[in-house]
């Protein structure tokens, strides 16, 4: 377990995961809104996702145990922690459902990126999508709801569908196939 944690750079990841939302929360101050919340969540999941693979993927594969549950638990716990920390630092200004949905989708994106580019690049998709979502203009409305799904209110159905699909897809391929070597 200790070795696993060290090979996944868990100490640094966890510290950054906690630090990101706290710093952003403090900086945002009274202007705290869903924009900052999704930025904080995206940043903390992105930094935590830098540790989605070990030093040597080939060596890992020779292990005598199944990687599937480990990978799944790693990704899900990481997402749960990020959501938990954010819920803890924010003074309940943003509905928990929104943060939960964003957490699901972003974790999925992290898994997808790790699968596509390798573990140390797990941060690329979550961060890129958050940045694009923050800049997405509000017109046309339909496209805005798709691109900026992390910023939508909890009652926008399409954002839930997207987040859910990304979560299932991302955690699925990462848990089954692992990070790219």
């Amino acid at each position: 377990m200790t070795l696993y944690a060290r090979s996944r750079r868990l100490p640094a990841s966890l510290a950054a995961l906690v630090l990101c939302p706290v710093v952003i929360r403090v900086l945002a101050g009274a202007d705290w809104s869903v924009v900052f919340a999704s930025l904080a969540l995206g940043a903390s999941i992105a930094v935590a996702a830098t540790g989605l693979s070990g030093q040597d993927v080939d060596l890992d594969r020779t292990a005598a145990f199944g990687w599937f549950p480990r990978r799944l638990v790693h990704l899900v716990v990481l997402g749960a922690l990020a959501v938990g920390v954010l819920l803890a630092v924010q003074a309940s200004a943003i509905p928990a459902a929104v943060i939960l949905r964003d957490g699901l989708g972003l974790v999925g994106l992290a898994g997808l990126a790790a699968f596509a580019f390798g573990g140390q690049f797990g941060w690329t998709f979550p961060l890129l999508w958050i940045v694009v979502a923050l800049f997405a203009p509000h017109d046309p409305q339909g496209l805005y709801e798709v691109v900026a799904w992390p910023l939508q209110p909890a009652d926008v159905a399409v954002s839930w569908w997207l987040a859910g699909t990304l979560f299932l897809l991302g955690t699925g391929v990462y848990a089954v196939a692992g990070a790219r070597r």
Partner: protein, 441 residues
Amino acid sequence: MSVLRTEARRTIAPWLLFVLLAVGLGFFFLFSGPWSRDAVAWDLQWTPSVLWSRYLLSLLWPIIVCGAALQGMRDRRSGMEELLTTTPLPVGRRTAKVGLVMGLAAVVGYLVIVAVGLGQVIANDGRFTFTWVLPLLVGIASVVAGVAVGLAVGRLLPHPLTAPAAGVVALVVGVVLQIAGERGSSVEQAVPNRIALLSPTITQPSSPLVEPVLAVSIGQLCWLLGLAATGFLVLAARRWSAVLPAVVGLAVALPLFPASAADNFTDSTGAGKPVCDGPVCVTTLHADWLSTVAGPGKDALARLAKLPSAPTHIVETTDSEYVSHGPGDPTALVVRRDSYLLRGTTGRTLEYEILASAPVCSGAVTDSAARYVVASWLLGDLVTPPHADIYGPSMTTSMRDAWTKLRALPASEQLTRVAAARQAQQTCSGDPYALLTGASR
């Protein structure tokens, strides 16, 4: 060439190019905003088109920095730095190739986006002046500086968290400085204009007639090129003297920059001067439009004359309707030729749109409905607006409701309500639709 090809395949440069093009062109083509439908649209005039590409850098710059940081840590991350120090080839020569390939990818991506915009400007027969050249050079310098800073940061701190952190920091710095440069924003007071101009991006162009003043462009060029030189020097040889170019650039730029954001832009070509036919004036830029607008404009003024405090003349502005300009002259009716409502309209339709023109206040559909009901009342007949479909189905029903309620009243009461509604529209105070239907008195 073959060295470049090898480097291109060993680096993430092709990916960077792909992401820049996908994000940049997607932003301009898939979404609509001031860049797609206003007088300052990126496909109408040369200078605004280039300025929009620099506005887009607020989105692209963090991506460039992030990608370059990722690339900058390649040697260390692959564990071969020690091996490379044993080779006789100087480190500068080797990193120069990586820098060249990454820089080329980013600059090519940026220039393709600029070229797509300028191609549309040529197709739309935009007014050509040379005022777009310097802003474009600043944009390229900004892209190169992004690559250099990213590579240098990646080389100095080869940790897996460096690249995402560099991206986030670049994003935050860019956005804060950009907002600080916007007149009237809350950050403007907190950050001096001279600091805001150090931004790798630029604020939204507020009018197609203005360009950054010479001192601003030259200063930004010095600062960004200094930053780029520092980045590349750090890459080649880690010495403290590497920060010198950035410091020199900063020292040249800061005194050049104007102290107030109001002096950042100028209209050097005089295209904003009015050309008039009686009470109807347009800008020199749109002088050919005067013959089209003069007739309907005069008719509209005549119809408005029956209202108290009616406007007495029409002026054309090219200022963006999405940027607040504060209260204007109440005797002037302001029109925008390049607003999507007016572009290409003539005769009675143009007169109708002129009668309905007012500042955009709340953006509510009922606000627009009220404007067109007032205009219809002045024309004497309920007319469906040419662009009614963009407001959604509630537009026509709201208009018909208000129209029937209004026409059921005695003539003097109709006049009072229309006058009150128009007053509310022009000053952005109160709810014009409620005033029209009598829901608020």
